[in-house]
């Protein structure tokens, strides 16, 4: 399996670290946030299979963080159709 880094192109999965669902956003003002909102951010995730925009980190490469779409039913990247 491979991942396409926007800077380095197509590289092996082993160079990357998965960074979770990109729609999960850290509350801007943590101190003012309710416990419920904080709990949702920490733990609760969409679990219906399908196309997800997710963060990846090219940790053993250029170091870039980027967002790509992938179908979790097939592991295919959206950009490859």
């Amino acid at each position: 399996m491979w991942v396409r880094c926007p800077w380095c192109g197509r590289r092996d999965l082993s160079e990357f670290v998965w960074g979770d669902d990109a729609s999960v956003v850290r509350p801007a003002n943590a101190a003012a946030e309710t416990d419920d909102a904080w709990t949702d951010y920490l733990y609760f995730r969409r679990g219906t299979p399908g196309v997800v925009a997710e963060r990846w980190h090219h940790v053993h490469g250029c170091g870039a963080w980027f967002v790509v779409e992938r179908d979790t039913r097939t592991n295919r990247w959206r950009s490859d159709g």
Partner: protein
Amino acid sequence: MKYSIATMLAQAARGHARWPRLWRAAELRDAYDVIVIGGGGHGLATAYYLAKNHGVRRVAVLEKRWIGGGNSGRNTAIVRSNYLFPASIAFYERSLSLYEGLTDALGFNVMLSQRGVLNLAYSRADLNRMRRRVAVLRALGVDAELLGVDDVAARVPELRLETPTRSVFGGFLQPRGGIARHDAVVWGYARAADALGVDVVQNAEVGAIDVHDGVVRGVAMRDGRRIEAARVVVAAASGTAALIEPLGLRLPVVHMTLQAMVSEPVARFLDVVLDGAVYASQSDRGELVVGGGSDVFASFAQRGAPATAPRNFAALLDLVPRLSGLRWLRQWSGTVDYPKDHSPIIGTTPIEGLFLSTAWGSYGFKAIPAGGECLAQTVVDGRAHRLIAPFDLERFRTGRLVREAESSGMDLEGVLV
């Protein structure tokens, strides 16, 4: 049919052509007392105990493909109760003790082999954590023994204690741990539930759960047919979220792929289940059954990333160099649903009549008997059985997590450590 020497001989005389089917090809009825979504071990066990312990027999188990085709048939079949926290130990110990009587209870041989589960320590810190686990287990009356390096060497003489990357500092053993045949557990529960009147229906995919004003009414099948039931149990593993998200319920779970693999048969050298860097057991035929860490990204594909298998092989070769050149026969993958604390989510929900048995991560198989027994009681009572009460969905809001990542062989990212 009750199996015995007499039935064996009688069937042999007929050329084994007249063995009865293990369960009926049940027709789906229009209404049930309880519908269980998911024909894996947990769903079938819940249905069995509903019928057996509580006399609830208008029960259907709806399986979208074939029973045991998901994680119940994809695991490495290990049973043990050597957890860290008292809540987990009590629950998994109940499960192990039910496994010990399961062949007799179901009248079906689940081939339980209590050969012992041996965890390896690779540092003094590992050994100290094991010392703590052993102390807690023994205080609660569960069998566990701390082993020194010499004890480990005596148990597994072919184990390399000093490798280029690791040193074995000792380990700990649960003598009553071991393996059971996972298909037999599924078939045994299905057969016994069927005999009590439970409808086990395969190729029956639920499309949605019917809920009105916060109360369960039944389910709508994928083909549009509606089935009534006042109580619905969702035991659909990685299919659970898609069924409950339309009801406004989310899960604190990440779905990942976990791979396992089996080698060609080799002469017996491993008579315990080895757990450390990889986990491995040797089948009666001599094949090595091996599992390791997850592929660390969300996926429902049931197809593992290619890099994981070589990583598991390398870790195994590190420990037993003689296996170099061993050929691997099969590799397979399941989708595991990991909650952040590596403990299950089982019990009631905010929706009346809706029950969950999910987030079984990498520890579902060993929990099948107790999961089924406790959830059946919960469905009847409408409130959580005491052994599963700590494993409710609410704990992620109260902060009362049961952190068992280490006892599952994982760090919090799901990587085998």
